[in-house]
């Protein structure tokens, strides 16, 4: 991480709060992610990290506070919001590939309908992306015919096809069989190396160590720590982080 304090943040959350009934799931969240930065969000389940990730492209609404992407405030419903979402790629835990469309169509739908690309051009770009994530030969199949790891790589290609400014990953490997986790992580590490701005909610500490610029530790709806990976894993400051790490790193 270079120390350009003056560079404006690409994603900026200021005093964000959200409640689910009586549960205060996001408590006064302040977070800045610079262009090209890879931020890994970790924490125990129920800590609000997925909600945080989903709030950034407004799949979850927030009660108060402000979220800015590339300087622009997140709009409410409507065309404006749709346009902004096109700039924010999202990869889900359960892949969510369009079940009735082929792999190729999954990747070209956004570019054709949202960006107005011709089908030929969209197909060409999609095939490039599918080759890059290693599923080019599966282009004509339906999502259900692919393994989980392949589906998730297609989902990454689908998000990349929109040429997003930032990519959000909401526990991208949590629904995968162990032998498929690495094929997805490899693609993500590649993206990080290419300079993509990424916010990754994950339990994969290996990925955090290898690719993250910063680790954000959340617990009970709050950001408890925000530090560099090595520092976080070797010298966690808070008791809660120490407790969390002792539970997951002993195995």
């Amino acid at each position: 991480m270079t120390s350009e304090a003056a560079a404006p943040a690409l994603v900026e959350l200021t005093a964000v709060n959200k409640h689910y009934g009586s549960l205060h799931v996001l408590q006064d969240i302040n977070l800045q992610v610079k262009r090209g930065e890879v931020v890994v969000v970790i924490g125990p389940s129920g800590s609000g990290k997925s909600t945080l990730c989903r709030a950034i492209n407004r799949l979850e609404t927030i009660d108060d506070g402000e979220i800015r992407i590339d300087g622009k405030k997140l709009p409410a419903e409507g065309k404006e919001l749709a346009r902004l979402r096109a700039d924010v790629g999202m990869v889900f835990q359960s892949f969510n590939l369009f079940a009735h469309k082929t792999i190729l169509e999954n990747v070209t739908l956004g570019p054709i309908k949202v960006k107005g690309l011709s089908k030929a051009e969209a197909d060409r770009q999609a095939m490039e992306l599918l080759e890059r994530v290693g599923v080019g030969h599966q282009a004509q199949k339906l999502p259900a015919q692919l393994s989980g790891g392949q589906q998730q790589r297609v989902a990454i290609a689908r998000a990349l096809a929109m040429k997003p400014k930032v990519m959000l990953f909401d526990e991208p490997t949590s629904a995968l069989d162990p032998e498929m986790i690495n094929e997805v992580l490899d693609v993500m590490v590649g993206l990080a190396k290419d300079g993509m701005t990424m916010i990754v909610v994950t339990h994969e500490m290996g990925f955090a160590r290898k690719a993250a610029d910063r680790v954000v530790f959340m617990s009970d709806g709050q950001i408890i720590e925000d530090s560099q990976p090595e520092e976080f894993f070797t010298h966690p400051k808070s008791e809660r982080a120490k407790d969390f790490l002792s539970k997951i790193l002993t195995h």
Binding site: L59, E77, D87, V88, V114
Partner: protein, 216 residues
């Protein structure tokens, strides 16, 4: 058999009009019903409210009352005059659309919420998420209840007989005037309806179910 053969023109005209009522009403009910279903899942509260109000009022009115309004009440409003068959089509379409809307809405609810989230996440606006991602997946689970609705519509067309439309439901009355046994006529009408449902609608349903079957 005489009742059928000697009044063949009565039966053909009757069932031709039944066919017209059915096909045209089914067409408009499908379109209107899909629009209303879309309104009921829309993010705009006013749209949701309007859709719900329409379904709950029209669905709870007896079809006879709705047809009576269009055949007898509507002409007195002094608006564009419509003939009885058009009035029947309007009434049947508006009535059936409420059932279509609810069938489609139930289908929309079977599509995992992640599909809509993924559609929104790549920047598709609400209408495109619905038409490109949600509805194509909803329609396939909606075929059986939708055909229920259409079979009911086919039989509901006979109510129009009460409002001067010469369709299958009116055959009995005409037979009586001509001195043929009404009961025999009714049995023929019933048989032809059964043949229409089993011979036409059911194969159509099977066709769509097979066509839209998805690899799971």
């Amino acid at each position: 058999m005489d009742t059928l053969t000697e009044n063949l023109e009565l039966f053909t005209t009757g069932f031709k009009n039944t066919g017209i009522l059915f096909i045209v009403s089914a067409f408009f009910a499908l379109i209107l019903g899909t629009v209303v279903a879309a309104m009921r899942v829309s993010p705009v509260p006013a749209m949701r409210g309007a859709g719900t109000l329409y379904v709950n009022t029209v669905r709870n009115m007896p079809l006879t009352v709705i047809l009576a309004f269009f055949a007898l009440g509507y002409p007195k409003l002094g608006l564009v005059p419509v003939n009885f068959i058009t009035a029947a089509i309007i009434g049947l379409s508006l009535y059936t659309a409420t059932y279509v809307a609810e069938a489609i809405r139930s289908g929309i609810n079977t599509v995992p919420v992640g599909q809509a989230e993924a559609a929104r996440a790549i920047g598709l606006p609400f209408m495109q998420s619905l038409t490109l991602v949600i509805l194509p997946q909803a329609f396939r689970s909606v075929i059986p209840p939708l055909f229920n609705v259409f079979i009911a519509l086919l039989k509901n067309t006979t109510v129009a007989a009460g409002f001067s439309v010469l369709e299958a439901g009116a055959i009995r009355a005409n037979l009586s005037e001509r001195g043929f046994p009404a009961l025999t006529g009714l049995l023929w009408v019933a048989l032809i309806f059964v043949i229409l449902v089993i011979g036409v609608l059911s194969p159509l349903q099977r066709y769509f179910e097979n066509k839209w079957r998805v690899a799971r």
